[in-house]
Amino acid sequence: SSYYAPVMPSSLCKPRRLYISFSDVGWENWIIAPQGYMANYCLGECPFPLTTELNSTNHAILQTMVHSLDPEGTPQPCCVPVRLSPISVLFYDNHDNVVLRHYEDMVVDECGC
């Protein structure tokens, strides 16, 4: 027998909207553009049984099974980014040079378990 608790669709693992403003972190005087960007983040549960929409690894499927048998001993799998995209940032460096730099993995596009 396994422990099963229904999960609301809204609490499933998925990307949530997060706008990062560079002025909020005090970087507005050296970052020229963008002033901020939609970075997003992952949040939600990875419950048993894992469906295909949850982008789960084989390991996560097994972990949810073990978790359902022993909720105290084994945690649920984590909800993490599985696809990220880059952005370009235009800024002044420590020597007042203007730099346009490409940064990988800055925006969460998809989450998974």
Partner: protein, 233 residues
């Protein structure tokens, strides 16, 4: 928070939080590239190879524009056909270890905005020399002890001139090898002949004195921060 911020800045390739003192205007070429990446066109929606700078057709994920830190050696006067002599120096020491310089382009900008055909006094000769070591700089004519890098003629109607300095830029990554360049702009030989016919030479430098600025655009690749592009099956 400051420790976390330092770690984050380091991961962004910065040793400390920049605090620009005299920030230069953003070069238009960087704005164009940035905006193109921000709003991809319907014909090129994907970022197939984010570690390539399509505008210059070279590998790279970092584009820097260095301001010139050299000083004027000579400005044209009425009695000379040498209109301008300037030391050009760009501090490339900010490039990180492991970063590969793939392109360096020198841009010389002039302030004039004439679309008239160049007259005999509006054609100039431009020479770029490797700057001499400090021990030879006290000579009466520093350029005489310099190795010529390139020479070309240009007309007044050019607003800017571009030169490929990729190989030179690679050498400049070693600070001891980076002595900079000497830029020399003089009146062309044709104008010299006219000068010999009695025209006042001071008039011939008019146009070259509109020299505004020199900058070095450097494209580099930090391979550790570039994912290999995966092809769809």
């Amino acid at each position: 928070l400051s420790t976390r911020e330092s770690l984050l800045l380091k991961s962004l390739g910065l040793s400390a939080k920049p605090s620009p003192r005299s920030p230069a205007p953003v070069p238009s070429v960087l704005w164009r590239i940035f905006q193109k990446r921000e709003i991809p066109s319907p014909w090129s929606p994907g970022r197939e190879d984010a570690c390539r700078v399509e505008e210059f057709n070279v590998p790279g994920n970092i584009i820097r524009v260095f301001s010139d830190q050299g000083h004027f050696l000579h400005s044209g006067g009425p009695r000379t056909l040498l209109c301008l002599e300037k030391h050009l120096y760009f501090n490339l020491s900010v490039l990180e270890d492991g970063e590969q310089l793939t392109m360096a382009q020198l841009q010389l900008q002039f302030g004039h905005n004439s679309y008239r055909a160049p007259g005999p006094g509006q054609v100039f000769e431009l020479r770029l020399y490797h700057a001499p070591p400090p021990s030879l700089r006290e000579l009466p004519s520093p350029a005489a002890s310099c190795r010529l890098l390139l020479a070309q003629s240009f007309a007044q109607l050019h607003k800017s001139l571009l030169f490929n300095l990729t190989q030179v830029g690679r050498d400049w990554r070693t600070p001891s090898r980076n002595l900079g360049l000497v830029l020399e702009i003089s009146v062309s030989s044709g104008a010299r002949s006219s000068a010999l016919l009695g025209r006042p030479p001071g008039n011939f430098c008019a146009g070259a004195d509109s020299f505004l600025d020199a900058s070095l655009l450097v494209v580099s690749l930090q391979p550790g921060q570039c994912k290999a592009s995966r092809k769809k099956r």
